[in-house]
């Protein structure tokens, strides 16, 4: 074996990477070559010294220089934590919002709509009448009556009931999950809609919310 190869194998040996058969060959060379034997001894000691120097125990940050008392690693943690930027504390989601504005807006919108929709859907078994001018509207059981000759100034919305229109509605008439009866004297100036399906109703709420937001 050449000494050059032997030296390479010494390093492989110290790396724990020399195959067993090669170890035997290396040993044979070392027995016959004093120079390599000495080199090998030096490398082994170098390895031991380097390892010892690197792994020597040191304490964190120990009283090394004047003016600094022994500090525990716990206070190093504190120092590190205090150095962290303050802005991102509870705002992990803000980062997401910044990165995905459209998705976030859509998600928040759907979430808000779904929750309010479900909440309203769940509790909407009672008659609900809404509108801007209800003073002449007559409610009889689950029937909402706009008497003949009466004029409702604005929109009228009836949920979970029957609408019996004999007079005039100046705005839109919307009947949700109910029925509509129009007398011959009835007059609807705005749009007349009947909504009976959940999705329609949701759409109605959405458009109402959106137009509400737009104002």
């Amino acid at each position: 074996m050449e000494c050059k190869v032997a030296i390479l194998w010494m390093h492989e040996y110290l790396d724990d990477d020399l195959p067993r058969d090669d170890v035997i060959q290396l040993k044979e060379h070392l027995l016959s070559c004093p120079e390599c034997r000495m080199r090998f001894e030096q490398l082994k000691r170098t390895e031991a010294f380097a390892q010892a120097a690197i792994t020597e125990r040191i304490t964190i940050p120990v009283a090394a220089s004047a003016g600094r008392s022994a500090v525990s690693s716990a206070s190093l943690t504190n120092r590190i934590m205090q150095k962290l930027p303050q802005q991102r504390r509870k705002q992990g989601w803000m980062r997401f919002v910044r990165n995905h504005p459209a998705v976030t807006v859509a998600a928040v919108f759907v979430f808000v709509m779904m929750t309010s929709f479900l909440a309203m859907w769940g509790q909407s078994s009672e008659l609900i009448v809404s509108g801007s001018d209800l003073q002449h509207v007559v409610i009889d059981g689950d029937t909402v009556i706009v008497p003949a000759g009466v004029q409702v100034n604005g929109d009228l919305t009836v949920e979970n009931g029957r609408a019996d229109i004999r007079g005039e509605v100046q705005g839109n008439l919307t009947v949700i999950d109910g029925s509509l009866q129009l007398a011959s004297t009835a007059k609807i100036v705005g749009e007349n809609r009947e909504i009976n399906q959940a999705l329609d109703w949701l759409w109605f709420k959405v458009t109402k919310t959106v137009s509400g937001l737009a104002y």
């Binding site: 390479l8 490398l43 010294f49 792994t55 125990r57 120990v62 943690t77 509870k90």
Partner: protein, 188 residues
């Protein structure tokens, strides 16, 4: 199945400071030792540890969970150490041993029972030479050695940390060892 560190990183990303403090607790000692061995200076080692955690914190969203967390954090810390070593004036490393090798860690290679005034003198002279040799070891060899001995990383893991093939890591281990052998020749 994700690692504890990856889970803590996710929590910290959502603003959980306690989770980040856990990460700091897990790694600060390892990083401090590593930085100290690289830089031979306590204050600089502490600065590197702080800078490392600051970078980790600011880049949590870029942490790739397919990579071991330790690989990632050692990479950041090693790069910070190497940067500092490069910025030093060439003469600095020669003087470094006088600044920081005295103190508690100077004698820790032998059990305290074996210490006699003579052995201490002898040992500290040998150690002084060893530390001096370590201080003059070029950063590219030193980083490999520190990761290997101190963090007990495999050659493959060192390659991952330093972003180089295992063959390069091996070459550096061998050259570093030869470098030290020549420096230490008179005490070997």
């Amino acid at each position: 199945m994700i690692s504890i560190e990856a889970r803590l990183a996710r929590m910290a990303l959502r603003g959980d400071q306690e989770a980040f403090a856990e990460i700091v607790g897990l790694y600060q000692e390892k990083l401090y030792h590593m930085a100290y061995r690289m830089l031979s200076n306590r204050q600089e080692a502490e600065d590197v540890v702080q800078d490392t955690f600051l970078r980790v914190y600011n880049n949590l969203d870029r942490y790739d969970e397919t990579m071991k967390f330790s690989t990632w954090i050692y990479r950041i810390a090693t790069n910070l150490c190497i940067d500092r070593l490069r910025k030093r004036k060439p003469s600095y490393s020669l003087d470094a041993e006088s600044s920081d090798h005295e103190g508690l860690d100077g004698y820790s290679m032998i059990p305290s029972d074996d210490r006699t005034p003579e052995s201490e003198t002898l040992l500290s002279e040998t150690q002084r030479i060893i530390h001096q040799a370590m201080d003059t070891l070029p950063a590219k060899y030193k980083s490999v050695m520190v990761l290997r001995y101190l963090q007990e990383l495999s050659l493959q893991e060192i390659g991952d940390v330093l972003g180089m093939p295992v063959t390069t890591v091996k070459t550096r281990v061998h050259r570093g060892r030869e470098f030290l052998r020549k420096k230490l020749e008179r005490v070997l």
